[in-house]
């Protein structure tokens, strides 16, 4: 029987808040750890009866941090449901819009969440260990650049999609409006700034993190290493793509486990239910659910920036490809299983997103006026997939012949990583809390780092200024008496 429980209540977001409970053995070692998701909204149920064309707007409300991902995945599901192939301009506009969103989102995550741990260090005083502390250390110039990147991204999302949050733009067969030459020029110019910003961010990472032996040791330490399968979307050359392609899964040894079109997802992915949380746990169906363990025999997989890079053979743009090679050279080849390397992978994706954004903004077809094909076939069923920043996102709808939704299935980005996040927390807690350990604030932060790397949508809220999850740890005696409370 356990004698103590440590509750970490980050009060952060997935569909609501998250809570970590760590149970200790009588001797004070970690017995178990649970990340609970205490909320459900039930989109799969209440979207039944709605109009199919409403789905990109309804499902955007699953997440206000990444509504673009749901909006676009939903539109792709509708393309399939209505049997309509969007014209090239439409596909390119959607992908460009999506790359702008990706670059904006990855920027927020890296600077607000990831950077404080590395630029300032995991043991820096918590009141400094935030984005403001980062700015103080590396200078106001960076703050200006980060704010500009975010502002540019959101302004372009509004310009193209109608609104900064919850765009109303993508439709079955394309998009509601194209762009003109004047808009294109602005998109291109800001895209070039974004490339520069991404390179600058990678340089900063190299200087501040890779130049520091202690950080490198932290990244490669066993507490933050899980040998799971990795999932990501690849193009025809097995390069990372966010908007479209085949889903590829590689094993813990890096070998291809599966490569399939999104519409076949049910053959490869299933979801497990536990009674202690409202969120389900996806796993690889052909391997099976073996509980919260890693390795080749366990169906757990990750779908993160690092997973996408692991699952691909390279990046489709030249600058990002160089950075891709650099990362694998530095960390001992493919695949990389160090959770904290996800931050590095995220910056490589940021660079790719910016490069791809400019590629598309300079594409001759991007200002084309054929941005929509009207469906003519009878709607029935459709599956749409994109890479959300936090993992492969799947929307699957059925409708009647009028295009009224009759059934819905969703596998949302962060959900893919729910089991590995639990595993990461448990392993970090096991490595860090041993009998006799004084549970300190810095130690809690190191446990927190284990799941922060995933940028879980639990952490959506923590994208904000100080980028710090508020934690409370309560050590309790078996009778529930509070022995010690540690807070920030």
């Amino acid at each position: 029987m356990t004698t103590q429980r440590i509750s970490i209540d980050p009060i952060t977001r997935l569909e609501g808040h998250g809570k970590i409970d760590i149970f200790l053995t009588p001797k004070g070692d970690v017995a178990d750890a649970y990340l609970q998701v205490p909320e459900l909204r039930g989109f799969e149920r209440f979207c039944v009866g709605r109009l199919a064309e409403d789905m990109p707007n309804l499902t955007a409300r699953i997440c206000g941090v990444c509504p673009e991902a749901h909006h676009i995945a939903s539109a792709k599901a509708l393309d399939a449901l209505f049997h309509v192939d969007p014209p090239p301009t439409a596909k390119k506009l959607r992908e460009m819009f999506y790359c702008i969103f990706f670059a904006t989102d990855h920027t927020t995550h890296f600077y607000a969440l990831g950077a404080p741990d590395f630029i300032l260090g995991p043991d820096a005083p918590p009141e400094q260990r935030n984005i403001l502390g980062v700015i103080q250390k590396v200078g106001m110039d960076i703050a200006g650049r980060v704010l500009k990147m975010r502002r540019d991204g959101h302004n372009l999302i509004e310009m193209i999609g109608g609104r900064k949050v919850h765009p109303n733009w993508a439709l079955p067969g394309g998009v509601s409006r194209g762009i003109n030459e004047e808009q294109r020029k602005e998109i291109e110019a800001l895209g070039r700034d974004a490339i520069e910003f991404a390179q600058f961010s990678l340089n900063l990472f190299r200087e501040q993190v890779l130049g520091n032996r202690a950080y490198l040791q932290l990244i490669t330490s066993e507490a933050y290493t899980h040998r799971t399968y990795n999932m990501g979307t690849v193009d025809g050359n097995n390069c990372v793509n966010f908007y479209d392609g085949l889903i590829r899964v590689v094993g813990p040894d890096g070998r291809e486990h599966a490569k399939y079109p999104a519409r076949d997802y049910r053959e490869y992915v299933a979801e497990h239910v536990e009674p202690w949380t409202y969120l389900k746990f996806p796993f690889l169906k052909k391997i099976g659910w073996k509980g919260f363990v890693d390795g080749e025999d366990s169906g757990l997989y990750k779908a993160t920036p690092l997973s996408r890079l692991n699952a691909a053979d390279g990046m489709a743009t030249s600058l990002a490809q160089k950075e891709y090679e650099r990362m694998y050279d530095a960390l001992g080849g493919k695949p990389i299983h160090h959770t904290l390397a996800t931050h590095w992978a995220r910056l490589i994706e940021l660079l790719y997103a910016a490069e791809r954004w400019v590629e598309l903004a300079t594409d001759a077809e991007i200002t084309g006026t054929e941005y929509r094909a009207l469906p003519t076939a009878t709607p029935d069923e459709g599956i749409g997939c994109v890479e959300a920043p936090r993992g492969t996102l799947t929307h699957h709808y059925w409708s009647d012949e009028r295009g009224v939704i009759t059934r819905v299935n969703l596998i949302v980005g962060t959900t893919n990583n729910y089991a590995p996040i639990n595993l990461s927390i448990k392993d970090a807690a096991r490595a860090l809390i041993r009998r006799g350990t004084a549970v300190s604030e810095g130690l809690l932060n190191r446990i927190e780092m284990a799941f922060r790397a995933y940028d879980p949508c639990l952490g959506c809220a923590t994208h904000y200024l100080p980028g710090q999850m508020p934690l409370t740890v309560v050590l309790r005696a078996p009778d529930g008496r509070v022995l010690k409370t540690i807070g920030r």
């Binding site: 356990t2 952060t12 039930g42 799969e44 149920r45 009866g49 109009l51 509708l78 200024l465």
Partner: protein, 337 residues
């Protein structure tokens, strides 16, 4: 001690978009920070619920509360923050009218659980395990907040002083509200902090007196970019919707979906929309009008109460006898691959 006002920001059942919209204030966030001590905001700072519990009543000057109320935890936080705040603002569509998650009131908790945890085609749950408020797992006791049978707005849970509409509220409107608070120019309690005109009044599209014989679905047509969408036969919610966004959606050729909620004086969003549709139909025959609306709008509740179901007159569908719930077919079994 600082003489600045105390501000709290909290979320309940919401998507995070309200917070992103606050972030879109950009550099004005610093003005907010200069004007207020932010005493509670789980997304940016460390204050814990137990700290809030220790505050005296009315400790907080203004609390911006977003999200609806779906679980016991959210209900508790609404009551707690009501007690601790002088002014409680229902911030955004979820808190003011239920928003999209409020459409869950068309169904029941049990149906949601069965769909999500048992019937969705990728779920592998032959034992039909469902989340439980209290559970023993490997000898460890774990608890979850209770999932209520319906979504409530903040105002249906506690007394609310002001409402700031929008899904999410646009950053300039958030700033308007902040300025009103700072300058002591808040209207009478119970007011909506927003415009009193409609989305149509902000829309640059040209309106004529054109009438129509049928409504079209958005997937069926490519709308003309310059003329009124409603007059083109598309169900645009502009006539019932409060202004405030700048009619952004019609400007990208998409109909207004009503995310800014009912305009001032509109008691029921759906009723106002139905009246607006009737006004563009080219018919005087009630039966023909009925047919045109029925055929053109196959999901009336989702179309007319997309954002306002939980907060509007309907509130929930379960009160309607099952026999009349024809718009809600149960999902048919789909063969597994």
């Amino acid at each position: 001690m600082s003489s600045k006002g105390k501000l709290a920001i909290y979320w309940a059942a919401s998507c995070g978009g309200c917070e992103i919209s606050i972030l879109a204030l950009n550099e004005k966030i610093l003005d907010v920070a200069n004007a207020f001590d932010i005493v509670f905001c789980p997304c940016i700072m460390d204050t814990k619920v137990r700290d809030v519990e220790r505050w005296p009543d009315q400790y907080v000057d203004v609390c911006l509360f977003n999200g609806g109320i779906r679980t016991s935890e959210q209900e508790y936080m609404a009551q707690l923050l009501r007690a601790k705040s002088k002014v409680l603002v229902a911030f955004g569509s979820c808190a003011t009218e239920g928003c999209i998650p409020g459409l869950a009131n068309l169904t029941k908790r049990q149906e949601i659980f069965e769909t999500v945890y048992c019937e969705t085609p990728s779920t592998d749950n032959r034992a039909r395990v469902l989340p439980l408020p209290e559970v023993q797992c490997d000898g460890n006791h774990l608890s979850l907040p209770v999932f209520y049978d319906m979504v409530r707005t903040l105002g249906q849970t506690v007394k609310v002083d002001y409402a700031l509409p929008g899904c999410p509220p646009e950053a300039p409107r958030i700033w308007d509200a902040v300025v009103a608070i700072l300058e002591g120019k808040l209207p009478a309690p119970g007011s909506v902090l927003g415009a009193t005109t409609t989305c149509c009044d902000e829309c640059p599209r040209t309106r004529t007196e054109k009438t129509i014989k049928e409504f079209k679905r958005l997937w069926q047509v490519a709308p003309d970019p310059n003329t009124c969408l409603l007059e083109q036969g598309l169900v645009c919610c502009g006539p019932a919707t409060r202004a405030g966004c700048g009619a952004r959606c019609p400007q990208v050729n998409s109909p207004c979906i009503g995310c800014y909620g009912p305009n001032a004086g509109v008691e029921d969003f759906g009723a106002r929309m139905i009246a607006a549709l009737a006004s563009v139909i080219d018919s005087q025959d009630p039966e023909e009008i009925d047919r045109i609306v029925r055929e053109g709008v196959p999901d009336p509740v989702g179309t007319f109460y997309r954002f306002s179901l939980a907060g509007g007159l309907l509130r929930r569908a379960a009160l309607v006898p099952d026999a009349e719930r024809h718009e809600l077919p149960l999902p048919s079994p789909i063969p597994q691959p």
